[in-house]
């Protein structure tokens, strides 16, 4: 992009025009050329980003909807239009119940777990104790790390023979379950890792929410003789509703799309017990090569995510904000 093509100095509105500019030339021509320069500037500045979005987001979105109506294998020259056949197959497939169960359990437990534990940690961090800066840093660190790398690290920790987890369990008199091979432990394993990775994020968002609650509100409750538990239940939690809702939606969206931890730890197995909808899309599309069928799965997941977002927008619009 070069400097010269962009709009030269153009006063934004007529009032700053020097009146003696050129009384002979018609004002309309000046506005028109200025408008043309604005269009050009807009196209040059916003164009690249918009173009990339059109080519790599909107085009594939539409194409994927189309692909979902085809019986088509990745890279194959032949494709057959089968209408809603892929969807019919998905809804009637014996695998679907298990995929939905794995997706449901994974999503509900990871989201619920990170919200509850994150709130607990945020309440602890909110008490301005010495050392909280270190705790905050450590808590947030897992969130910035590669999910795949984190998965490998935890696979080592969960190693039933030589892992740290097995040593810790033995120390309290328990023997290590077969984390890798015996359902439901593989699912438990990826849930633990997912919560571990996201806990710090949830805690920090909650902490921001807590710090937005005016201190005098809590002081007033304390003066009224409310216990801390009562203040938490009747004052703090209700005031945190918008934060909770935001986190609920954010975590729901990201957990429904999680891939790299599963890929590192279980690859959807054993026996499909950790195959979530997201993982199924990858597996059908790129391992089994059934691109049409995978696209139908992608549409289903997309609709699910869209529903979550729609609920959010609806709720946020209506929500009365505190503070």
């Amino acid at each position: 992009m070069s400097t010269t093509v962009l709009a030269p100095p153009a006063p934004r509105s007529g009032q700053t025009d020097p009146p003696a500019a050129s009384p002979t030339s018609p004002a309309s021509r000046r506005t028109r050329s200025r408008r043309r320069r604005s269009w050009l500037a807009f196209a040059l500045l916003a164009g690249p980003n918009v173009l990339l979005l059109l080519v790599f987001v909107y085009r594939p979105l539409l194409e994927s909807l189309y692909l979902s109506t085809l019986q088509w294998n990745l890279g194959s020259p032949v494709a057959r239009f089968i209408g809603l056949g892929n969807y019919r197959e998905w809804f009637t497939s014996p695998d679907t119940a298990q995929v939905l169960l794995a997706t449901g359990v994974f999503t509900v437990v990871t989201v619920g777990g990170s919200l509850v534990l994150g709130l607990g940690l945020a309440l602890a961090l909110d008490r301005k104790l010495p050392g909280r800066a270190v705790a905050r840093t450590v808590a947030f660190a897992p969130y910035v790390l590669s999910g795949f790398a984190v998965g490998i690290l935890w696979l080592f920790i969960f190693d039933p023979r030589y892992g740290l987890m097995s040593t810790l369990l033995q120390a309290v008199g328990m023997s290590s379950p077969q984390w890798y091979t015996e359902p439901p432990w593989p699912l438990v394993m990826i849930i633990v890792v997912y919560v571990w990775k996201n806990l710090g994020y949830v805690a920090l968002i909650y902490l921001a929410g807590l710090q937005a609650i005016p201190q005098d509100v809590r002081d007033a409750a304390a003066l009224d003789g409310a216990t801390s538990a009562r203040t938490l239940r009747s004052i703090v939690l209700p005031l945190l509703t918008p934060t909770t809702f935001f986190l609920l939606v954010t975590m729901l969206l990201s957990s429904l799309q999680s891939f790299d931890i599963i890929q590192a730890m279980t690859k959807g197995g054993p026996l499909g017990s950790t195959t979530t909808l997201m993982y199924q899309i990858y597996e059908e599309g790129f391992v089994n090569g059934r691109a049409g069928y995978a696209s139908a799965g992608a549409t289903i997941l997309f609709v699910l995510l869209l529903a979550v977002t729609a609920v959010q927008l609806r709720f946020v619009e209506r929500k009365v904000h505190y503070a």
């Binding site: 400097t3 962009l6 709009a7 604005s38 500037a41 807009f42 500045l45 918009v50 990339l52 790599f56 987001v57 909107y58 594939p60 979105l61 692909l67 607990g120 940690l121 602890a124 008490r127 705790a135 840093t137 808590a139 660190a141 897992p142 969130y143 910035v144 590669s146 999910g147 790398a149 490998i152 690290l153 696979l155 920790i157 190693d159 030589y162 740290l164 806990l199 994020y201 920090l204 921001a208 609650i213 201190q215 002081d219 304390a222 918008p242 934060t243 935001f246 954010t250 790299d260 890929q263 590192a264 899309i281 599309g285 790129f286 997941l301 995510l305 959010q312 946020v316 904000h321 503070a323």
Partner: protein, 298 residues
């Protein structure tokens, strides 16, 4: 991703003061409980990372010992050497660093120019363009991945840097954050720039960007983290070890070494995680601000 950031994000700060002392007396027992929770959380969240580094320095016999040997007898980098002998580690680091810097830089530039146009260039349809950009936040990558893969393959971009980079370049989140920030800038400064004879390009880089450095830093850091950790897309488009990023290389190492060579695998895991951990520790405040942006609901 959130759509609910209020314009000019109000950063609510507690108005603390005198009542803090009273609260402190009331909450001694709670403080102890909170301390216990804080320490427990720190250990549970931090220990695995330390464990990773310690284990990567152990010899094979120290890793595969029952009962567990906590610390290595001596600091031994053999696992790192072996990892580098199995996958082209230097090349992978260069790939990851290069793609991260170029990708994050382009993302910031695309976001800045797009947001500038949306806020400061007066054309009638810019509102519609903004909605078009914003709506992509709701389109998840898994629905675009098969058609994008087909496109990239047909362009001959499999196993190339541009194949990894280009499809993910467009910036919706950055554009959104930059736009929010630009809307809060005082218009008088830009009017002064106009009287000065500055065109859009100069206004953007000489006036708007210098006034937006915290937001630029936040978006840049979020992009750095995202590019570095990005997994599914590079994993799909690259199977040539010379073009892999670090997380994809780790996948290759896992498939070569399996689970019977933890030391080597963990050494590579350290190489993947420690650089971003270092970025996080040094630039923590800005990075957290970026990653948690959008959550401030007032």
């Amino acid at each position: 991703m959130s759509l609910q950031t209020a314009p000019g994000r109000p950063t609510a700060r507690r108005t603390s003061g005198a009542p803090t002392r009273r609260r402190a007396r009331r909450g001694l027992g709670l403080d102890l409980g909170a301390y216990a929770a804080m320490i427990a959380a720190t250990v549970v969240l931090g220990a695995p990372l330390l464990w990773m580094v310690v284990a990567s320095l152990k010899e094979r016999s120290e890793l595969y010992s029952v009962p567990l040997q906590w610390l290595p007898d001596d600091l031994d980098l053999a696992n790192y050497a072996q990892a580098a002998g199995t996958i082209p580690m230097g090349q992978l680091i260069a790939n990851s660093v290069g793609l991260t810097i170029v990708g994050a830089g382009l993302k910031v530039a695309l976001g800045l120019t797009c947001a500038y146009a949306l806020v400061f260039v007066d054309v009638p349809f810019r509102r519609a363009v903004f909605v078009l950009v914003l709506a992509t936040l709701m389109i998840p990558s898994q629905i675009t991945i098969i058609p994008n893969y087909t496109l990239v393959a047909s362009l001959g971009w499999l196993n190339t840097y541009q194949g990894i980079l280009v499809p993910g370049l467009a910036s919706a989140f950055g554009t959104f954050l930059f736009r929010q920030h630009f809307l809060s800038l005082p218009t008088s400064i830009l009017e002064a720039a106009e009287l000065d004879g500055a065109g859009h390009w100069r206004k953007l880089w000489q006036f708007v960007v210098p006034l937006s450095l915290p937001t630029v830093a936040a978006v840049a850091l979020v992009s750095v983290v995202a590019e570095w950790n990005d997994y599914l897309w590079p994993f799909l488009v690259v199977d040539d070890a010379a073009k892999m990023t670090l997380p994809v290389g780790l996948t290759l190492l896992q498939s070569i070494d399996g689970m019977n060579n933890w030391g080597v695998l963990l050494a590579a895991t350290v190489v993947v995680t420690v650089p971003i951990l270092a970025v996080f520790l040094v630039l923590q405040r800005r990075l957290v601000a970026g990653l948690t942006a959008g959550a401030v609901t007032g």
